[in-house]
C-alpha cells in the first residue's frame, strides 16, 4: 500500500515576486518580472533581458546569518534557501538549532549548475597564485549539492539530503523524487524544489546558441512569448521554488494545511534518437512520459483540467502542444486549458519546474488559472491543434479546477511530468 503524498508548504523566489503571497498576486495579474540589464548589453549579449528576483539586503539577512553571508557569492543557493525555509515554515514546521536531526525529513533540491559567480571569483584567485585566500566556504558554495547541504544544516534534516541535476527538467524531477521517497515509506516529509543562479556566466552559453530572444531588448515585458506567433526564443530567468511534501497520514495528524495532492508522475528520456538530440526532444518520449504520468496517477486523460506547460517561447512550443494533444488524445475545444508561467518569469532553468509547480499548486488551492501573457497572437500551428480559447489571456477564477498536469523537458532529451490534484479530503 503506497502512502498518499500531499503538499503542506510552499516557498518561492521568482523574478516577478518573492514569497508566495506576493507571487500569487503577481501571477493572477499577469505581472512580468523581465527587465533590461545594462550589464548584458555591455558584454555584447544579443539578449539583454532576463528575470532576476528582486531582493534587498535586509531580506537576505532574514534567511542567512552574517557568517553565512560573509564572502557569499552564490545567488542560486540564496534563492533556494529562501524558498526552502519559507516552505518549511509555511508547513508549520519549526527550526531549532539545538534539536536532534529530524530523521523523517529529507530534501531533494536540484540545480542545473553550481554557483558560477563563486567559481569565477575562485578561478581568478587561483590563477593569480592566491589559492590560500579562497576561505573556508569556496567548496560548499560551489559543490553542486551546496543548496541541499545548506538547507539540510539550517533545518536539521536527518533523512536523505541530496541534489539532483537534469537541466531544465531539474525542478520537476526533484518533486517526483521526493514524492517517490514518501510514497515508498522511506521518509515522512521531503523538501523538494530547484534553484538557479542568474547573470552572464550562466546565461552566456544560451546566448551563444541563439536560443534566447534578441528582439525585445527595448520592450522587456513583452519578450517572453510562449505559444505566440511572434515568439523568438526564450528569456533567461532565475530563482527558486520549493514544496514541502508530506505523507497524508502525518499531515492530517499534525493538522497541517493541505494545498494539494501529488497523484503521481513519470520521468523518461528519448535517448537522443529520432527527433531527439542533446537539445531537442524525441516526441515519442515526451508523449510516453505524459501517458505514463497519467497512468501512474490513476486517472484518465479526460480528467485533466489544466496543463502547466514547459513552453519556453522557442520553435519547440508547437511540438510540445502536438505532443500533449497526441498523448492525451484531446484537441480543439476538448483540449484542457494550457498556460506558461515563463511568459512572466522567463525560463528559470533548473528552478523552472519548481517555480511553475508552486504556481500550479497555488492555482489549485485558491481556484484560479493565471493568464499566459504575451500570446494575443497565438501561433497558427498551435491554433490548428487546440482552440485558442484554451489559452487564457486573462485570469480565470474557478471552483472546478481539480487536476493539473505539469511537465518539464531538458537538454539531454529528458522529460518529467507530474499530476497534481486538489485535495478534497
Amino acid at each position: 500500500m503506497h502512502e498518499r503524498v500531499v503538499i503542506t508548504g510552499l516557498g518561492v523566489t521568482a523574478p516577478n515576486a518573492v514569497g508566495t503571497a506576493a507571487f500569487t498576486e503577481a501571477i493572477k495579474n499577469g505581472v512580468s518580472g523581465i527587465r533590461f540589464y545594462k550589464e548584458l548589453e555591455a558584454l555584447n549579449f544579443s539578449c539583454c533581458v532576463g528575470g532576476i528576483p528582486p531582493l534587498s539586503e535586509e531580506l537576505k539577512q532574514l534567511y542567512l546569518s552574517p557568517l553565512q553571508l560573509k564572502n557569499f557569492n552564490s545567488n542560486g543557493i540564496l534563492y533556494g534557501c529562501m524558498a526552502g525555509i519559507d516552505a518549511w515554515k509555511d508547513a508549520g514546521l519549526s527550526i531549532n538549532e539545538n534539536s536532534e536531526p529530524d530523521w523523517d525529513s529529507g530534501t531533494v533540491f536540484g540545480t542545473g549548475s553550481s554557483s558560477v559567480e563563486k567559481l569565477r571569483e575562485s578561478f581568478y584567485k587561483i590563477d593569480a597564485g592566491h589559492v590560500k585566500t579562497l576561505g573556508s566556504t569556496a567548496v560548499s558554495q560551489t559543490m553542486l549539492s551546496g543548496i541541499s547541504a545548506y538547507l539540510g544544516g539550517i533545518l536539521g534534516l536527518g533523512n536523505v539530503v541530496t541534489t539532483n541535476s537534469s537541466a531544465c527538467s531539474t525542478g520537476t524531477e526533484a518533486i517526483l523524487m521526493g514524492f517517490e521517497r514518501i510514497q515508498s515509506g522511506k521518509a515522512k516529509r521531503m523538501l523538494v524544489g530547484g534553484c538557479s543562479d542568474d547573470g552572464p556566466y550562466i546565461w552566456g552559453g544560451f546566448d551563444a546558441m541563439k536560443v534566447m530572444t534578441y528582439k525585445h531588448n527595448t520592450t522587456p515585458e513583452d519578450a517572453s512569448r510562449p505559444m505566440s506567433a511572434t515568439a523568438s526564443g526564450f528569456v533567461p530567468g532565475s530563482g527558486a521554488g520549493a514544496l514541502l511534501l508530506e505523507s497524508l497520514e502525518t499531515a492530517v495528524e499534525r493538522g497541517a494545511t493541505i494545498y494539494g495532492e501529488v497523484l503521481g508522475g513519470a520521468m523518461n528520456a528519448g535517448g537522443q534518437r529520432g527527433t531527439g538530440s542533446m537539445t531537442a526532444p524525441n516526441n515519442e518520449a515526451v508523449q510516453r512520459c505524459i501517458k505514463s504520468a497519467v497512468e501512474n496517477a490513476g486517472i484518465h486523460a479526460g480528467e485533466i483540467d489544466l496543463i502547466n506547460g514547459h513552453l519556453t517561447a522557442t520553435i519547440k512550443d508547437v511540438a510540445e502542444i502536438n505532443n500533449w494533444s497526441k498523448a492525451l488524445n484531446r484537441k480543439g475545444n476538448n483540449f484542457p486549458f494550457i498556460h506558461s508561467l515563463k511568459s512572466m518569469t522567463g525560463h528559470c532553468l533548473g528552478a523552472a519546474g519548481a517555480i511553475e509547480s508552486v504556481a500550479a499548486v497555488m492555482g489549485l488551492y485558491h481556484g484560479f488559472i493565471f493568464p499566459s501573457i504575451n500570446c494575443e497572437d497565438v501561433h497558427p500551428d498551435i491554433a490548428a491543434i487546440i482552440s485558442t480559447e484554451k489559452i487564457p489571456q486573462k485570469l480565470i477564477k474557478t471552483n472546478t479546477l481539480q487536476v493539473i498536469a505539469k511537465a518539464s523537458f531538458g537538454f539531454g532529451d529528458i522529460n518529467s511530468c507530474i499530476i497534481f490534484k486538489k485535495y478534497n479530503g
Binding site: P66, L67, N71, T133, S136, T137
Partner: protein
C-alpha cells in the same frame, strides 16, 4: 602595538565566527579558539585570512598550524609585525 590594543583588534576579528557568547565575553590570552570560543574548525582559515588583511601581514603554513588559541595568535602577529 600594546597587548590591550592587539586584544581588542583580535576580538573584532573573531567575533563573527564565535559560537559561544560566554566564551567571547570571557576571552583572554588563554582562550582556545575551538574549545572556549567554539569557532568551527573550518572557519579558522577565515580568521587567519582576516588577521592577514587587518594587520597587512602574511602568515605561513607553519605559523597557521600553531594558531589555535589567542596567545599563539598574538605572539605570531607581534612577530610578523616586528619583521616588517
Amino acid at each position: 602595538m600594546t597587548t590591550e590594543a592587539l586584544m581588542e583588534k583580535l576580538k573584532g576579528i573573531v567575533k563573527p565566527y564565535v559560537k559561544s557568547e560566554e566564551g567571547f565575553k570571557n576571552m583572554t590570552e588563554n582562550s582556545d579558539f575551538l574549545n572556549d570560543l567554539k569557532i568551527n574548525s573550518a572557519n579558522l582559515v577565515d580568521v587567519i585570512l582576516d588577521i592577514e588583511t587587518e594587520f597587512d601581514i602574511i602568515i605561513d603554513n607553519d605559523s597557521m598550524e600553531k594558531m589555535l588559541n589567542v596567545k599563539a595568535a598574538m605572539d605570531i602577529i607581534t612577530t610578523k609585525l616586528n619583521e616588517k
